[in-house]
């Protein structure tokens, strides 16, 4: 059983990051504006990107803490089997985090485009797996 002290920050940072991510994705891809020199990104894209980059380290930190206090302990003592949604969460999170970092550091536009696609797909999977894991966990309590 997971302690509420550890789970609440993870849930909070996850849902905040998901919310900002979804709004950013929508505004970036569907809400361009006619600027003074042509079509450009919506004026919310820049602050939302900044907010996304600010909240994500918190998510990574709290997921790290849950790995330490929840996943690692389960694996070490073999007290309880990891749920399939848990495995999928670990896989999609690693993919999401690394593709996200790649977008910020890669030089090649082609590879960066691929990283963006991987990030979007991994994030979409992460959201679904997270929802399933969270609500199934609540049911079993």
């Amino acid at each position: 059983m997971m302690n509420r002290r550890y789970s609440l920050p993870v849930h909070f940072s996850t849902y905040i990051t998901i919310l900002i991510g979804i709004v950013l994705f929508t505004v970036k891809n569907f809400c361009s504006i006619e600027g003074e020199w042509g079509i450009e990104d919506h004026y919310l894209v820049k602050p939302l990107t900044g907010l996304h980059l600010l909240t994500t380290p918190f998510l990574i930190f709290f997921v790290g803490s849950i790995f330490h206090f929840h996943i690692y302990l389960k694996l070490k003592h073999k007290t309880k089997e990891l749920r399939p949604s848990g495995y999928l969460l670990i896989f999609s999170f690693v993919l999401m985090a690394f593709s996200g970092i790649s977008i910020q550091i890669l030089m090649s536009a082609e590879i960066r485009e691929t990283a963006v696609t991987i990030h979007n797909v991994a994030t979409f999977s992460w959201i679904i797996f997270y929802g399933v894991h969270h609500f199934n966990g609540r049911k079993t309590k």
Partner: protein, 178 residues
């Protein structure tokens, strides 16, 4: 059962309609003037006329083969500028540097770039290239010489983007001349 499904579909349509309205609201134009108006204001005393260029499939294919990583288009606007007796051609081109765009003005005379200005730079300003580096493009005679221009360390993506846009302006200018 059928009525229930129909109601659900109608509800989705309603939400979609609301979403589109919200998008329109968010996407509403914040500037009343167009690129043409802004260029006319930028060059007072000159006559600036707008034209459009539709590229043929093979011309777009050539662009895609040279710059595979860039998002190309088959439609471009260009502007003829007439100051006293001097006629030049203007291109306002944009490109995504990393995740945000830059807008660059190119003035071309006899298939040679004579003026470049970064009109708008949406990435952090420390990655913006200095005007003295842009002057390196003024001496170029043709498209092949663009590769000889050195990039800017610390602003590699920006300088690559400028090189691509310079190539694009000369390429489009070459097509217009034909």
């Amino acid at each position: 059962m059928g009525i229930l499904i129909l109601k659900k579909i109608l509800a989705i349509k309603y939400i979609r309609g609301g979403f589109i309205l919200l998008s329109f609201y968010l996407s509403s134009s914040i500037y009343a003037s167009t690129v043409h108006d802004n260029l006319a204001k930028k060059f007072p005393g000159c006559i600036v006329t707008e034209s459009v260029l539709f590229l043929a499939t093979e011309q777009v294919s050539k662009m895609n083969s040279v710059h595979k990583e860039k998002k190309t288009s088959a439609f471009y606007a260009y502007y003829e500028k007439k100051c006293l007796d001097k006629k030049t051609r203007l291109f306002v081109l944009s490109d995504e540097v990393r995740t945000l765009k830059q807008f660059v003005l190119f003035e071309v005379l006899d298939n040679r770039i004579i003026f470049i200005e970064v009109l708008k730079f949406l990435e952090p300003t420390e990655y913006k290239v200095q005007p003295y580096w842009l002057e390196k493009f003024y001496s170029l005679e043709d498209l092949s010489k663009l590769k000889t221009v050195d990039g800017v360390s610390g602003a590699t993506l920006t300088s690559n983007s400028i090189k691509y846009l310079a190539w694009l302006s000369l390429y489009l200018n070459g097509i217009i001349k034909k």
